[in-house]
């Protein structure tokens, strides 16, 4: 039988012809096929008896809209393979699933299905692998519809006949020249495709990983007023914007990979980031700087592209971004996510450059090793200090080159605590980064400041200087009382103590001091931090206040 191509557009037009010896099949690509019940069509019938199986294969693609600069370029839209997604074949007559497979790395699939049977091919926006490791279950769902359904793309119900056949399915973007007026079928598959790239990177360093389940929630209804921004929820969900003409992220792999990096960090590494809004160029709490710098660098590693691009605006024709390889960092240092991302990417990539003192090409394995080991086990807060200290220990032959790389960002790593760091961002109150306190020696003149906030009239709890960090190692197991005192009635310190069981928050409104007790284990090093509520909420003046921290 000669091949006959029948290209079916999304018109919903139903064309029924007889099966058996005829190559023309039913054509219906509307999302709710004629005669369907519960979304699974039942009206069509081949009028013949199934006598065996045929091979049904095909290619699944989605329309990808690439970037031109930081904006989306719809004129350059192309068909990309939908890799690793779930393909199902349904017997339309009895509403049963007859075969399931995942597309390969080129978007191809092959199924054995009954002949002379009305079959519909469905592509699920899910990458699922079970059984022997590695395992994963990533799916794209609609968080704005009841029960958070997973997105699927349906082909037509069509009789299989008695010979093998091919069904190629493409998810269209829905763009019709100036806006998305048609269904944005491609979006969930574009999102998954970035996750596919992420999986491939991770499998190079751990080929038997068991990825925790993750739902990626996307909808055209996901706007800045509904979900705020694209983000990882700290557990098992990533939310992505889809609000056309304001901010969409389905075609921003940079953003998707960044958030997926946070998912990996949460489940396989550790983060002490305190969150909050962050902007490029910020001088941040070092924990936020490391977490976000890692996200940006990891995004570029996944995509093998140093350019981070985030489109937005009317017709997605504007955007912002940066190049983690070539960007000039304003205010470089341990508090800069830009410095962190440049360092991590330079450690990874094969492009060396003298400007950044980059002579290294370590690849991802050494980075992953630190993430899943020392980042979890060492006591200091997550920061560039903790990461680099462990990396140097693990790679002593590269220690000098690593030091040169971080020195180029005005960072100096002696240990995981940043001891001896001389870069104070122009404010002596932010170093030393940690103060160590003992039962015999209080830490005095320990200061917090709002000097690094983003402008008057704002509140920026996650910027450099707002929090100060301390370390304490109890000599014996027992209860210890901590006192943070200004020595006067001024100030209102609040503290967070990272105990054996979690983060304990102490927020009394007592003027000038905060006093609390903890049951501690001998020999273990504990971390605590404090801020000043009055400084935190002072939006009119720049203010610095210093305290003495004692323990008994």
């Amino acid at each position: 039988m000669s091949a006959l191509k029948l290209v079916i557009v999304a018109s919903g037009l139903l064309v029924l012809t007889a099966c058996g010896g005829n190559s023309v099949e039913s054509a219906n690509t509307s999302s709710n096929s004629s005669g369907s019940s519960g979304g699974v069509p039942t009206s069509t019938s081949c009028g013949a008896t199934s006598t065996g199986n045929i091979t049904l294969d095909g290619l699944v693609t989605f329309q990808r809209v690439p970037h031109s600069g930081y904006r989306l370029d719809y004129s350059a839209t192309y068909d990309a393979p939908a890799r690793g997604v779930t393909v199902q074949a349904f017997n339309v007559d009895n509403n049963s699933l007859v075969a399931t497979v995942s597309t390969d790395g080129n978007g191809n699939y092959s199924l054995s299905v009954p002949n002379n049977t009305d079959i519909k091919v469905r592509v699920v926006a899910q990458m699922l692998r079970t059984g022997s490791l590695p395992n994963w279950n990533f799916s794209v769902k609609d968080n704005t519809s009841i029960n958070n359904p997973v997105y699927v793309m349906d082909g037509s119900s069509s009789c299989t006949g008695t010979t093998d056949e091919t069904r190629n399915l493409t998810a269209l973007s829905g763009w019709t020249g100036s806006s998305y007026t048609n269904t944005r079928t491609a979006a969930p598959f574009a999102i998954l495709d970035t996750v596919y790239d992420g999986i491939q990177l991770i499998l190079t360093v751990n080929p038997t990983l068991n990825f925790p389940i993750l739902s990626l929630y996307w909808s055209p209804n996901n706007s800045d007023t509904s979900i705020g921004t694209s983000y990882f929820d700290g557990s098992n969900a990533i939310y992505l914007l889809g609000d056309q003409n304001v901010d969409t992220d389905e075609y921003d792999p940079s953003v998707i990979a960044h958030e997926w990096g946070h998912y990996l960090e949460a489940h396989f590494s550790h983060s002490d980031s305190i969150g909050g809004t962050h902007y490029t160029g910020d001088q941040l709490d070092m924990r936020v700087a490391f977490g976000e710098g890692f996200g940006n660098a990891f995004s570029s590693m996944v995509r093998n592209d140093p350019v981070y691009a985030d489109s937005s605006g009317n017709q997605q024709a504007t955007g912002f971004g940066f190049n983690v390889e070539t960007e000039t960092v304003s205010n470089p240092g341990w508090y800069s996510e830009s410095s962190v991302e440049k360092i991590l990417y330079d450690l990874y990539d094969s492009t060396n450059d003298s400007v950044d003192a980059d002579t290294l090409t370590l690849g991802f394995q050494p980075i992953w090793d630190v993430l899943i080991n020392e980042e979890r086990t060492e006591p200091a807060f997550t920061s560039i200090f903790k990461f680099i200290d462990a990396l140097k220990t693990r790679n002593p032959n590269d220690a000098a080159a690593i030091d040169a790389l971080v020195n180029a960002q005005n960072i100096h790593v002696a240990d995981q605590y940043g001891s001896g760091e001389i870069n104070d961002a122009g404010n002596s109150n932010v170093v030393p980064i940690y103060n160590e306190v003992t039962t015999s020696t209080p830490a005095s003149n320990v200061c917090v400041t709002n000097a690094f906030r983003r402008g008057l009239g704002t509140n920026d709890y996650n910027v450099l200087g707002m929090n100060h960090y301390l370390r304490f190692t109890p000599p014996t197991t027992g209860s210890y009382q901590f006192t943070i005192s200004s020595g006067t009635s001024s100030g209102d310190p609040d503290a967070v103590f990272y105990s054996d069981t979690g983060a304990d928050i102490f927020q009394s409104p007592n003027p000038g001091s905060e006093i609390f007790s903890e049951n501690l284990t001998a020999g273990r090093e504990y971390m605590l931090e404090f801020d000043d509520y009055q400084i935190l909420t002072n939006t009119s003046t720049t203010e610095t206040r210093c305290y003495t921290v004692s323990v008994k």
């Binding site: 091949a3 006959l4 290209v7 079916i8 099949e25 690509t29 979304g39 930081y70 509403n95 049963s96 699933l97 519809s145 009841i146 958070n148 359904p149 997973v150 699927v152 793309m153 349906d154 082909g155 037509s156 069509s158 010979t163 056949e165 069904r167 399915l169 493409t170 269904t183 079928t185 055209p220 209804n221 007023t225 705020g228 983000y231 609000d243 304001v246 946070h262 983060s271 980031s273 909050g276 902007y279 490029t280 977490g291 605006g313 009317n314 955007g319 912002f320 983003r454 402008g455 009239g457 509140n459 105990s499 983060a503 102490f506 927020q507 009394s508 409104p509 609390f516 935190l536 939006t539």
Partner: protein
């Protein structure tokens, strides 16, 4: 001793600082972990949170902070001024602001684009815009701010300001496809494929 945990939901700060901090409120809406803050009227607070102190800051933002304040409640047919505060976080060679309105919310300004000259980092520029509601409903003002830095790099940020006029019913969200369930009973949302069938 009463123990209360309060998070820095920026609605509180809206009261404290009058200026609506949209960025911050959005962060709160997004479910991000915000820094705990105590209520100054309570005696003491002490809470425990998960040891895995993972937070969700969200994606990186272009280096410009945008805040707004409405001059008064929006009423049908009455012009309302929206005070915009734009703060570049890097030295800006130029700042361009463009806005547009949706639906029956119209602009009351002769122009919808504004430009500002060189602006040092963390310095706020102000711009008032005027909108008029022609009907009751839920509308948005869409802002787009582009920063051109001294190094020649530009970055844009878009955001929306929700405007509610009267007491309109809640917005009905339109799903992307057809709601259904698969044979296993799992909820799915069905979207159409472009399909090519080849008989061998």
């Amino acid at each position: 001793m009463m123990r209360i945990q309060r998070y820095m939901v920026k609605g509180v700060f809206m009261n404290h600082f009058v200026m609506i901090s949209l960025l911050s409120s959005l962060t709160a809406l997004s479910g991000c972990h915000e820094k705990p803050i105590h209520n100054a009227t309570t005696q003491s607070t002490s809470v425990q949170v998960a040891s895995q102190h993972t937070a969700a800051p969200g994606k990186p933002r272009a280096p410009v902070r945008i805040e707004y304040q409405l001059s008064k409640d929006i009423q049908l047919g009455i012009p309302v001024i929206i005070h915009l505060s734009i703060t570049p976080l890097v030295d800006a060679q130029q700042i361009n602001l463009h806005y547009r309105t949706e639906g029956d919310l119209t602009s009351g300004d002769p122009q919808s684009q504004f430009s500002f000259g060189p602006t040092p980092a963390r310095t706020t520029v102000q711009q008032d815009i005027t909108v008029i509601a022609q009907a009751e409903g839920r509308f948005r003002v869409i802002l787009s701010v582009t920063i051109a830095s001294h190094s020649g790099h530009a970055g844009s940020r878009s955001m929306s300001i929700p405007i509610v006029v009267g007491n309109p019913p809640p917005t009905t969200l339109k799903p992307q496809g057809t709601m259904s369930t698969d044979p296993q009973g799992n909820p799915v949302i069905v979207t159409p494929a472009q399909e090519e069938i080849i008989k061998h």
